[in-house]
Every structure is written in structure tokens, then in C-alpha cells.
């Protein structure tokens, strides 16, 4: 079993199916569903990834969806080295130096 009652999990659900999107959205968006992700504490006794479950969000709302992650965490970071940026600091400093400082 991937998750037990009370575990902090992330669920996924479709809000609007493809083809049922608002008329104003562009074609590429029309072709895909409006999807949603929410986190909360698992209310079911136990569940596996892919099961439809109920959760209680951090503020206490009950939401249903498909279990996608247990103990979710953030993976965003400061990016990789961007060599294209490395000239900027040297350039602005040397421009000020030329100014006669």
C-alpha cells in the first residue's frame, strides 16, 4: 500500500473534460482537459497510487481525486549554470572603470 490514512498526499482530478472548455479558449487548449492538483491528508484507510481517494486539505476542505504522490515535495531550484549571463557583471563593472574611477 502506497499511502495510509493521515498521510500527506497529492491528488489530481479533471475539472472540465476536453471539448467542454469555455468557448473563448484557443484550439490547442480546447483539445485538453482543465486539470487540478491539490494536497491534503488522506482520509481513506489506505490507497495506492492511481486510486480514487478523499483528502482533507490543510485548511480542512474535503476534496476527491486520484492519488498521484505521497509526501509530495518541491523540486524547483535555482536552475543550471547559464553561461550566456556571465559577461554581464564583468561588462558593467568595466564600463564604470573606464569612466575614470
Amino acid at each position: 500500500m502506497d499511502a495510509r490514512k493521515g498521510d500527506w498526499v497529492r491528488i489530481h482530478d479533471a475539472v472540465l473534460e476536453a471539448g467542454k472548455r469555455a468557448p473563448s479558449v484557443p484550439e490547442d487548449t480546447q483539445r485538453v482537459p482543465l486539470e487540478m492538483w491539490v494536497k491534503g491528508f488522506l482520509l481513506d484507510e489506505g490507497a495506492n497510487i492511481g486510486d480514487r481517494v478523499k483528502i482533507e486539505t490543510y485548511i480542512g476542505r474535503i476534496v476527491e481525486g486520484v492519488l498521484v504522490e505521497v509526501n509530495p515535495y518541491y523540486k524547483h531550484d535555482f536552475g543550471k549554470c547559464v553561461p550566456e549571463l556571465l559577461y554581464i557583471g564583468k561588462q558593467v563593472r568595466s564600463l564604470l572603470d573606464e569612466d575614470g574611477e
Binding site: 518541491y74 531550484d77 554581464i88
Partner: protein
């Protein structure tokens, strides 16, 4: 709950969720009583200062950017190159000027007895509401447009989600699409929480202290008002509130310039183009539509009406903003942005048009961090097939490449034709209210709402074949 049924209850849901009846300010035709709305439903400047002081918002420091000023003068004609100053809004509790808007919204929600607040935002405002809600003991939900259909999220928006959760908020993350508003309405109805919209009179009044502080701080340190205040423009609230604050301080000669990152050609509701953007705010994708039609916001009448206050509107390219973000860190020791540095990039160029003894103020900064940092943004851009080039920024094509200026002399601004923008706004009014004749009252409203005059408005109405 069907999409149509919920959208159909929009007006009723909103009335409950913002605790005010907008119909009180409506007139029969196009116009409404903006000033009455701001006076009756907002707070006085003194009250707002007190409310914001309670939660540590505002009174942010001013830096004179001496090195960047010197750098700008290297590229300016003799005697030109205004002094560039920066108001460091990043030192607000959650890291941006948005705390000012959130402070008043959360105070108001608490006072009216709401148990929680909801905000539909993918930007800094979410963390601001979450932070202020935590201080006021309110529950908080933030609804974000975050992912494309492959589940790839904008790193900057993911960082905002993290920050909201850090303050105990629930974050509902959605894929691309304006139907976010539907989810937002469903949540408002389900919870009965307050709509901490960015566009209520309380939210905009919250920004007035920013403009007011600028005037006061400059009178104290320089003995006069600044010549130019430059504002990063997206939904228009930052510009509207700041300009109103300057006016309330009596700084009537100060010019207010809006600046947006140029993302022309990218559709904001497109699933494919969503992750081709390297800015999630401060760009033309919000700036232009909200300037030409402010009432597209999540309240019946937006209190953010940038055309009313704008003296000039310029755009800058993405590469120039990244360049200036790096220059700010390297020459001034301030690691901020990047989105908030849009107005800094524009200020760098506009300073070169002004005399050396003039003063130009960049009125905002925002915190930087994982996901938001320029390295994170440019790494993400590369992963999405965007070329990073060092060259002439004027050749940048949004969604295809990002061009970093070869040297600071290549940083330029592009003018947005304000008369064209005003014309679009008037056209939108006519279309939306479906009128073939404009009353005396509406004529005067259109003049005020476009900061223009009767001759101009009448000429546009003539073009459109509308009687007056």
C-alpha cells in the same frame, strides 16, 4: 456543477464574496462613479497606514542606484542621465508590494467576519494573501494557473505555491485556461470565504500608501517630488494605486510611466505557449488587455484603471530585464526580481532622455529565489526550446528567443501608442454595453477613464459612428 450554471451565478456569488454591492455605483450607460466607489468602500490613507503598520507592511527603504545611474550616463547625451532611485518593496513581509493589497483585503475580510480568504493568482499576490491571512488568523486558499497539459509547471509559479503553503494556505493548482474563474467561483460558493481580489477598492487603496510614501520620502531626502515614477504594469493596480497615492500627497507634477515586458504574439490561454513565457507577470499579455478593458477582472468593476493615470506606456524585451536584473545584483548589491525589474530596465533607458538633475523612481522590487531567479527562468526557457542569444534586443521574438543586450547601450524601450490604447478602451466600452448613443455623463466618464479630453473622445465616437 455545470460550467454554465456556476458562471450564471457569478454576480450573486461575487456580491456575497466581496461584501459590497457594485450596483450602487452604476449609472445607466457605460460609466460608473469611480471616485464614489473608492471613497465609500475603501479606507482613508490614514486608516490604511495604520492597518498596514499592524502587519509590518510598507515604509520600505529607498536606494539611490548611483552605479546604474553612472552606467546610464555613459550612454546618454552630455548633461542627460537622471538619477535613478529604487523603492525596495521586496522587504515587505512576503517579499513584494502585493502585501499592501493583501493587508487591506485581509483586514477587511476579518472585519466583515469572513472565516477565510480566496485569491485567484499565480503571482506574488498569493503569498501576500497567505502571509497576511496567517497574521489575521484567517484561512486561505490560493487558486493558481500553473501547469500545461503535460503537467510541466512554470518554476516561478511553483515557487509561489511553496510560499503560500509555507504560510498554511491551501493551493489549488490548475492547467492553463481562463476557466480558472469557474473553479474560483465554485470555491467561493463552497466555503463562503472572502474574495481577496486584486481589483477591489480596498486592494487598490492599499497601494496608495506606496505612492504617498514615495512623495514623502523624496521631500524629506531631496526636498522635492520625483520627476518620473515608473511602474511595472500588468493588471493595472500597481500603477493605479501608486498614482492615486502620489496625487493624494499633492505630487501632481510627477509623471507616471507604465512598463511591461513585451510578450506580443503569445496567447495567454494557449496550452502550447504557456511555458514559452519567461515572465509570468509584468508583461503585455496582462498589461494590454487590462489597460484596454479593466473590467475583465474578477469583480464587476475593477478599481484598477491604469489608463486614468498613465502619462506614458512603454515595453521592454525579456533579455533587457534579465540583463538589468544581473546588473542590479552586480553593481548595486541587490539581488531582486526578475519580473519586478521590468520598470528598472525601462528606467535605465528613460533616464538617458532626462536631465542629470532629474529624478526617476523605480517604485518596486520583489524577492527572488528558487524558481524565480533568472538562472531558473533561463534554464527553463532553454528546456522549452527558447534560444538565449546575446545581440540586439529589438530582434527578440517572444516564444522563440530571448536576446540579452550586447551592451547596455542596446537596452531600449518601445512606446505603446496611448491614443490607440484609449481608442481600444472606448471601443470595448461601446461593444460591451452595446450602445449607439453616449450620454453627457458617459462622455465625461470616458474622458476621465482615458485621461484624455472631450475633443479626443468625440473623434473616436465619430470614427465608431456613435452619437453623443
Amino acid at each position: 456543477m455545470s460550467y454554465e450554471a456556476v458562471m450564471g451565478r457569478n454576480f450573486e456569488i461575487m456580491r456575497k464574496a466581496v461584501g459590497m454591492d457594485y450596483s450602487r455605483f452604476e449609472s445607466k450607460g457605460i460609466g460608473f462613479d469611480y471616485e464614489k466607489m473608492m471613497e465609500e468602500t475603501g479606507y482613508t490613507l490614514e486608516e490604511i497606514k495604520r492597518i498596514q503598520a499592524e502587519t509590518g507592511v510598507g515604509n520600505t527603504p529607498i536606494y539611490e542606484l548611483r552605479n546604474l545611474t553612472k552606467l546610464a550616463r555613459n550612454f546618454a547625451p552630455k548633461g542627460k542621465g537622471a538619477r535613478i532611485f529604487l523603492k525596495d518593496e521586496a522587504v515587505n513581509p512576503s517579499g513584494s508590494f502585493k502585501d499592501r493589497r493583501a493587508a487591506t483585503s485581509c483586514y477587511h475580510a476579518k472585519r466583515l467576519g469572513y472565516k477565510g480568504v480566496i485569491a485567484a493568482t499565480s503571482g506574488n499576490y498569493g503569498s501576500a494573501v497567505a502571509s497576511q491571512a496567517a497574521m489575521r488568523g484567517l484561512k486561505c486558499i490560493v487558486v493558481q494557473e500553473c501547469y500545461d497539459s503535460k503537467g510541466v509547471g512554470q518554476p516561478e509559479i511553483i515557487e509561489k505555491a511553496r510560499k503560500c503553503e509555507a504560510h498554511g494556505a491551501e493551493v489549488v493548482q490548475l492547467t492553463v485556461g481562463p476557466e480558472l474563474f469557474y473553479t474560483f467561483l465554485v470555491l467561493l460558493e463552497e466555503t463562503g470565504y472572502f474574495n481577496a481580489s486584486l481589483y477591489t477598492p480596498f486592494a487598490i487603496a492599499g497601494v496608495e500608501t506606496l505612492g504617498y510614501e514615495i512623495a514623502m520620502q523624496f521631500r524629506e531626502r531631496e526636498g522635492r517630488d520625483p520627476d518620473v515614477v515608473i511602474v511595472t504594469n500588468a493588471g493595472g493596480g500597481n500603477l493605479t494605486g501608486t498614482a492615486r497615492g502620489l496625487i493624494k500627497a499633492g505630487a501632481k507634477e510627477t509623471k507616471v510611466i507604465g512598463a511591461s515586458v513585451n510578450l506580443t504574439g503569445l496567447h495567454m490561454a494557449s496550452d502550447i505557449q504557456f511555458n514559452k513565457k519567461s515572465f509570468t507577470t509584468g508583461h503585455t499579455g496582462f498589461g494590454i488587455p487590462f489597460t484596454t478593458w479593466p473590467d475583465r477582472s474578477d469583480v464587476p468593476r475593477s478599481a484598477a484603471r491604469p489608463l486614468r493615470y498613465m502619462d506614458r506606456y512603454v515595453t521592454v524585451n525579456q533579455g533587457s530585464v534579465f540583463y538589468m536584473t544581473e546588473a542590479l545584483a552586480q553593481l548595486e548589491g541587490l539581488e531582486r526580481g526578475p519580473a519586478g525589474n521590468t520598470s528598472l530596465a525601462a528606467a535605465f533607458k528613460i533616464a538617458q532622455e532626462l536631465d542629470e538633475d532629474q529624478i526617476i523612481v523605480v517604485q518596486e522590487t520583489e524577492y527572488t529565489g528558487a524558481g524565480k531567479h533568472l538562472n531558473a527562468q533561463l534554464t527553463f526557457a532553454k528546456e522549452n526550446g527558447i534560444d538565449i542569444i546575446i545581440g540586439d534586443p529589438r530582434e527578440e521574438i517572444p516564444g522563440k528567443n530571448i536576446i540579452l543586450p550586447k551592451d547596455p547601450g542596446y537596452i531600449s524601450v518601445e512606446e505603446v501608442d496611448l491614443n490607440r490604447t484609449r481608442r481600444s478602451y472606448i471601443r470595448n466600452c461601446i461593444k460591451h454595453y452595446n450602445v449607439d448613443k453616449v450620454s453627457e455623463e458617459d462622455l465625461s466618464f470616458l474622458c476621465q477613464d482615458t485621461k484624455s479630453h472631450e475633443v479626443f473622445v468625440k473623434s473616436v465616437l465619430d470614427e465608431l459612428g456613435i452619437k453623443y
